[in-house]
Subunit: 332 residues, 2 copies
Amino acid sequence: MAKKFGSIRDVARATGLSTATISRVMNGARNVSPETRDRVLEACRRMDYVPNPAARALSTNKSRTIAAIIPNIDNSVFSKYIAGIEEALDKRNYSLVLAVCHGDPEQEFLAARKLLGMGAEAFILSGAVHLQELTQTLTRRQVPYVFTSIWDAESPTPTIGYDNFGIARNSVRYLADRGHRRLGVIHGPLAESDRTAARRAGALSAADDSLSLDCVETDLSVEGGKRAMVDILSRDPGVTAVLCMSDVLALGVYFGLFEAGLRVPDDVSVMGFDNLDWAKDAAPPLTTNDLPAGSMGREVANQFVDHLEDGAALESRLLPSRIVERASVRAL
Amino acid sequence: MAKKFGSIRDVARATGLSTATISRVMNGARNVSPETRDRVLEACRRMDYVPNPAARALSTNKSRTIAAIIPNIDNSVFSKYIAGIEEALDKRNYSLVLAVCHGDPEQEFLAARKLLGMGAEAFILSGAVHLQELTQTLTRRQVPYVFTSIWDAESPTPTIGYDNFGIARNSVRYLADRGHRRLGVIHGPLAESDRTAARRAGALSAADDSLSLDCVETDLSVEGGKRAMVDILSRDPGVTAVLCMSDVLALGVYFGLFEAGLRVPDDVSVMGFDNLDWAKDAAPPLTTNDLPAGSMGREVANQFVDHLEDGAALESRLLPSRIVERASVRAL
DNA sequence: CTGTTAGCGCATTCAT
DNA sequence: ATGAATGCGCTAACAG
């Protein structure tokens, strides 16, 4: 039991009002006369009073806290995503609690238990693959959740994200349309991400007799991308274009190609996924799929707050993406 | 008032014990017979009971939550740092609440108020420059805080981080020792970071009559680094080495140099700061200052938990850094 | 518009 | 080793 700071009661005493009135003022209820309101506010400022969040949460059964479990934070596009969530939540006076699961459903489940134990009112999950225990627990406790970074019109759980399959398929076509026939495709660990699996499947779906794809799985890192590029080159020195399922991989490809003495796009065209900030500044600027990660974060955050506050229904949402044409792809 | 889930009372009823006993079991008190203990645990599992964190926090006046306010999350070294904090906190069963302030003390103050309102028990701040209001509030409320990413033996507030001045100074010497006499120095916005200011001052402190430094301030981004490199080249085409106060800037420099038709390190040597994951994979591999961001995060987290749990004193700590020699710097 | 009164779920004396 | 009683700080009816 630590020392207690000014409680609502102290403010009540100091102003000669009741705790109920103080509470009303603190919560912006309109049925308070302007004068008392000002008097209370002044007292709060003077006494440096801030409502105790635990007491408030206990009383209202609301924590104003939303949980997100992401595969990764070190790299890539997730930081933009998180920034979007945080920004939107902050505007609505909610807080974000974060956990990282490294693409492991088991870790994800453990993290979720902990966040649940912290009082999270809603869960932002990545992808559609999760331990059944997790979704069961959430359902039983009536804690709403959505799957993000993916979009699936059929999913009973709302999905907010991109059409990973379609974007990848479209990317291969884009390359094919420019005369490329021997493509390398580089992606991260399939086991850790159904988004990756969808992208790979999308790419493969665009192959045909005249279009060969060499898919390689690697670590989702610059190092991984570089290594994969070296692999592809060793198997087929005549590859003319490489599609990377992440800009981070594309950066590794740039480095790998550079070391091999090959030039982008003269020798090999490179196409990415994400449109990270530096993509436009790379040499040459990277042609990539722009994924609105920040918007996705804001969308999810706002849907949840609307849901929690007004009972608005959670809805699947497909976010727009597009190919940003820059100089890393050339037509043959 | 939402629907209530199993409370401690329900478990008590189900087991025929009192709430006090359940509470004892949940908190691992030893004065409970093994049998009743098991009985309770079993019931909890069966009923899917988890203690309500708000009630617990209200009762104990502890939230097991620590706040960190960082300048940035989008980029760079902060994600490694956060990952370190999160990892260590998680192990000790604490949680991290995060806010981003974009290097603006005003925003930082607002964020702190919010996190305080969430019940954060301790604050991890970046650098030593903050609104007086912030440190005052924290002090008055007796919420402990430390400054990180810096080290200052004189500071009354504990500092846990690096010797930014010394590392930068040392980097310039490293370059000078290899025969470089005309150096470019690129750093982020001074106004947003006293760490940056310290690095710049350190670099400048190593200059002398035979060693000229061309310092340029730019955005802390790949784009910023690239632009700065172009600037420097336009002012002094004969520059032989560039020191970047962040690896992110160095990446921009690589791209800028490449576009200018210059080679690293043959034409211009490049040295960075941070040792981000990709530094070793760049082409050529980047010589840079290794800053143990992950360790710093873990150190801060553990110090706080020790402090909160056992009253251990918070102590300033200098984290080791070193130059990682790779191929981006050559001796003249 | 304002005050009174009950809890919210839990940890914690103090008994036993 | 266990139980009964109390209060943490706040919000939410219900009165007036």
